[in-house]
Symmetry: C2
Subunit: 186 residues, 2 copies
């Protein structure tokens, strides 16, 4: 298991959110008895993009660039992990009492980090087995050339513009020019 | 500067895309004479979420969980780096001849990785200084309690439902139930 220090080295600094993400991800990996994902053996569905998700990336190997970190912008510190080997999924959140506990302890930022890293798991992690459909594998797509800028672009991210293949930025640029020309002709 | 090996350890495996991301990010940091971002000193705007972006995260410190990795889903291997200290921005892509070069070399996957890591920068990296407005800083938002599930949620990600605060998943679940009830009453 990668250490909290390794998560800090990746994130750039230590903070309570990162420490919380570390405890939540550690709980998930312990539950699955699973090591870090070299490829897509594990999938993480994260419901925010806050500090803790960097701990998810470091510990679980579910990373932004590997297609096994799925972002749902719900503003919630909730991570769902899917294990492709077993077909099992778990939802990791904080216990209902957690916010209440925070209101009753008066700690500095550093003390808070230490507390999160050392408190018993049951006090800060709620783990529930759930059933979800297996997430799709990341696809390797063909690239084509944008006929406006000449740069390569994934085939599923192109528009057709005046009979030519266009990437999204060129499409937007051309459309802006067309609107501008239209306004000048008025 | 973090090594390619460190990028591999984070990504989980070595591949041509990661090696390319490594060269492109290294070129950016060298150009800025900038170390890894501990906080938000650097911002990366990435135009795909493929392997190379894991090298962006490891080398530049612009990470998914820190708010300084901005994803524009254009399907293009193009990274724009903004340096908050100098206000300068650079756009990193591959030279126009790059795809042509690839067509003329016949290499195994491992040889391709070695080639990408060792070829001179001018052959695989195109770096252009550009002007862009300073990206916004990540905001730390208040959290509120969803009155349906009792979980905490960022205040900007809530709905109001029957006069109560609802997180997005609960809002969707309630709406599904309402639609289902309506269909049963027909």
């Amino acid at each position: 298991m990668r250490s909290y220090l390794e998560a800090v080295q990746f994130h750039g600094h230590s903070c309570p959110g990162l420490a919380m993400g570390y405890r939540m991800t550690k709980a998930a990996l312990d539950h699955f008895s699973h090591g870090r994902a070299e490829d897509e053996e594990l999938v993480a569905i994260v419901e925010n993009d806050a500090c803790g998700t960097d701990a998810v990336q470091v510990l679980s190997g579910c990373t932004f660039g590997k297609g096994n970190l799925i972002f749902k912008d719900h503003g919630k510190m909730v991570y769902t992990f899917y294990n492709r080997n077993s077909g099992k999924a778990i939802r990791i959140s904080r216990p209902a009492e957690f916010k209440e506990t925070l209101n009753h302890i008066d700690l500095s930022r550093e003390e808070m980090i230490d507390w999160i890293l050392s408190v018993s798991e049951v006090e800060i992690v709620k783990l529930v087995e759930i059933k979800i459909p297996e997430p799709e594998f990341a696809r390797i797509l063909k690239t084509v050339i944008c006929e406006y800028c000449g740069e390569t672009v994934t085939e599923t991210r192109v528009h057709e513009l005046n009979g030519k293949i266009s990437c999204i930025p060129c499409f937007k640029k051309q459309n802006k020019q067309i609107i501008k020309q239209g306004e000048q002709q008025k």
